[in-house]
């Protein structure tokens, strides 16, 4: 397994801990443009994703990239996550991965 470039599971609130580092999140797409997507994080924070979105976009989008600011990600990989994703579960995962069970994640 390649551990040279880990990406941390984040929701909107945890972004600020990883500015300048690689993060991984899932957003609900609100709008998209050429070269950017505006999405809502699982804890209801509006996030701007820079990068070319796949077409057509599904409701949920996974974003892996560098957190440029608290609310901006420069995307390296964008993946459609379908229309029936459970945001509450992902949000809980982020809390566990950055809290009580941080030692289990890289």
């Amino acid at each position: 397994m390649d551990t040279s470039s880990p990406s941390a599971f984040v929701n909107g609130a945890f972004m600020r801990r990883y500015i300048g580092q690689k993060v991984r999140t899932v957003v609900q797409v609100i709008g998209s443009d050429v070269g950017s997507v505006v999405g809502k994080s699982t804890d209801d924070v509006q996030i701007v994703v820079r990068g070319s979105p796949p077409t057509p976009l599904t409701t949920y989008l996974e974003v892996i990239g560098i957190a440029e600011s608290e609310k901006t990600i420069r995307a390296e990989t964008l993946t459609n996550f379908g229309n029936s994703f459970d945001p509450a579960n992902f949000n809980e995962l982020c809390k566990l991965a950055n809290g009580e069970f941080k030692h289990l994640f890289i």
């Binding site: 459970d86 509450a88 579960n89 009580e100």
Partner: protein
């Protein structure tokens, strides 16, 4: 040593209910009258010369009686006893737990009241009949030999006693005397003659049926003996017509000459390994003048929050609850025969703060349902015997023909429920059990999703399912399907029962009593299921196996017979392996070659809803961390 009874002892005890424990009671000597065995215990009348009261020795005293220490007409000192109510009547009885013999059998019953002199001869005569040992006992005293009362009962042959007393004793009394009354729990199919004394605690309606073997009528009753053991008795045709009127709900009967067979566990409504069939030659005599301690009716209440485990099972349940609301009657058209049937829905709540809707059908809807509607504002407590649990609106209950409804029953459960409701229940907000069946239920209630276990929970507990089948949900992977097992049987296309190949051609169905040119294959197979904690074999029947394999047994058989190099049959099994499912299983104990074995049967298979599963895992994690902090 006292040689006579304590005068007025009984009336003083009865009028002083505060004598709860015997410690502060004065010493009481009474005469034992009408001693007789009932099951492994003995009942008698305690006589203080003026008053007689029903009494019973606990089983621990039985050896004293069998050894002859305590005799009929003898005197005993009561050391420890309780005064109990006979539930059905307003009289009391003594339950004697400790006593000592004071004097051997006297000549006659002590009677200190002179005014009953004129009755005496009559009384004496009766007494003689009731205790044939009387004369013997007299002799015994003079010769110093004591006969055991139990032997006294069999000293004369049954026919002798019958002939001596024919005409002056009621038939029921004859039965009681000449035969030992067996406790229900001792009955088995291999036993010769027996007589039981039971109360009819439930009576079904007469039903007409029609099947391949003709038509007829049938009804059944539930019988309960004084120990609380229950058995179901069924009567067909002539026997049904003969006994339908005789069996009255709540009355006590002597019954003999019935047949016992193993109970069909799928349909059983009472806790007994056997059930009884009565035919025309069976004897049923009402025990009219006899008091007896048979409990009125026995309920096994299931709390509303635990109903989830019974959904769509054949097992019937008993429920007690506070009436929250009562609907007007509706008419429902029955699909099978287009008949219109009255129905009424009532909502019940219990201490689990859950509510459930019970549909009353037919007479229960119009009769007791109307009564409930009239008193609904008083929030009565009702107990219902024999309810079917369905999945309409999550969980719903329906009455069946032999269901029984009791309004404001006199039971500790009812009292407890009523006081809970009066003190806090009516202020509490309640939720329907049906809505709690969704996986997101976070209130800790037990529902379909929260009785989730891992496989090791089942395999590590070999006694699971010993009493009755237990149900669980579990998530696991199919890890192995043995390809050379018998995977299916040839089934009748109409009734799904096993068919045999007929001599010439076609298939014979024993159930339908007819031949068909074709049959269908139905799965009956075992699969190995694994999860992170272990593995075990699950038995699976047609519908569930079809979901596991992904095609019907007929299709799989076709693939197998095709053979060939690619072998689609093997591929199909391979595809089914290492896929995960949610299983609803029952765990039972089966005896095989004299060895008890756990049997896990698949009752339902569902694909995994990953979001719901994740929620369940998150719930588990948060519960665990709460517990450790």
């Amino acid at each position: 040593m006292a040689t006579s009874v304590t005068p007025d002892a009984i009336s003083s005890v009865l009028s002083n209910p505060s004598f709860d424990s015997s410690s502060d009671r004065p010493e009481i000597v009474v005469q034992v009258v009408d001693l007789k065995p009932i099951g492994n215990r003995y009942t008698f009348n305690a006589n203080d010369g003026k008053t007689r009261v029903k009494a019973m020795f606990t089983a621990s005293i039985a050896p004293e009686i069998i050894s002859g220490n305590i005799q009929n007409l003898g005197l005993i000192r009561l050391i420890d006893f309780m005064v109990n109510d006979i539930s059905s009547k307003s009289t009391k009885y003594f339950l004697v737990t400790k006593c000592e013999a004071v004097a051997p059998a006297l000549d006659s019953e002590i009677n200190l009241e002179s005014k009953s002199d004129e009755e005496a001869p009559e009384l004496k005569k009766q007494k003689l009949e009731h205790s044939p040992a009387n004369d013997d006992a007299k002799i015994d005293v003079s010769t110093g030999i004591t006969l055991k009362p139990k032997q006294e009962f069999v000293a004369k042959s049954a026919s002798q006693i019958m002939s001596e007393q024919r005409g002056n004793a009621a038939p029921a009394a004859r039965m009681a005397m000449t035969r030992r009354v067996h406790p229900l729990v001792s009955l088995n199919p291999y036993q010769g003659s027996w007589t039981i004394k039971v109360r009819v605690t439930n009576k079904g309606v007469m039903r007409n049926y029609k099947n391949a073997r003709g038509e007829g009528c049938v009804f059944n009753v539930e019988l309960t003996d004084e120990e609380g053991t229950q058995i179901q008795a069924t009567m067909f045709n002539d026997a049904a017509r003969k006994f339908y009127e005789r069996f009255q709900l709540g009355k006590v009967y002597y019954i003999s000459r019935g047949l016992l067979k193993l109970a069909n566990k799928q349909f059983k409504t009472v806790q007994n390994d056997y059930e009884m069939t009565l035919n025309e030659n069976s004897e049923v005599e009402e025990a009219s003048n006899e008091e007896m301690f048979v409990p009125e009716r026995k309920f096994n209440f299931v709390p509303i929050e635990e109903l989830g485990m019974y959904v769509n099972q054949k097992e019937l349940i008993d429920l007690i609850g506070v009436v929250q609301s009562v609907s007007p009657t509706m008419s429902i058209r029955r699909k099978t025969d287009n008949e219109m049937i009255p129905k009424r829905d009532i909502t019940l709540a219990d201490e689990s703060k859950k509510t459930v809707v019970v549909s009353l059908w037919n007479d229960l809807a119009t009769g007791i349902g109307q009564e409930l509607l009239d008193m609904a504002d008083k929030s009565p407590v009702i107990a219902i015997k024999s309810l079917k649990v369905g999945d309409f609106q999550g969980v719903s209950l329906s009455t069946i023909s032999r269901s029984n409804v009791v309004i404001n029953p006199e039971s500790p459960e009812a009292k407890k429920l009523k006081s809970w409701y009066d003190s806090e229940g009516k202020e509490t907000s309640m939720s329907s059990i049906g809505s709690g069946m969704s996986p997101s239920a976070k209130n800790g209630s037990r529902s379909m999703y929260t009785d989730r276990v891992v496989l090791s929970h089942i395999t590590s507990n070999p006694s699971l399912g010993e009493e009755k089948p237990v149900f669980f949900s579990t998530r696991g992977y199919i890890s192995f399907i043995k390809p050379d097992q018998t995977m299916w049987y040839q089934a009748c296309k109409t009734c799904n029962k096993k068919v045999t190949e007929a001599m010439d051609s076609g298939y014979w169905c024993e159930g339908c009593q007819k031949k068909d040119e074709e049959c269908s294959l139905r799965y009956i197979m075992v699969v190995k299921v694994s999860d992170s904690t272990g593995e075990t074999w699950f038995s699976s029947f047609n519908d569930e196996a079809e979901k596991i394999i992904g095609c019907s047994a007929d299709e799989l058989n076709k693939l197998r017979s095709e053979g060939g190099e690619t072998n689609e049959f093997q591929t199909k099994l391979k595809e089914a392996t290492w896929s995960s499912h949610i299983f609803r299983v029952s765990v039972t104990q089966n005896e095989y070659n004299g060895e008890k074995r756990q049997r896990v049967t698949v009752k339902g298979v569902a694909p995994i809803d990953f979001a719901a599963e994740t929620r369940l895992l998150l719930e588990g994690i948060s519960k665990k961390s709460q517990a450790s902090h």
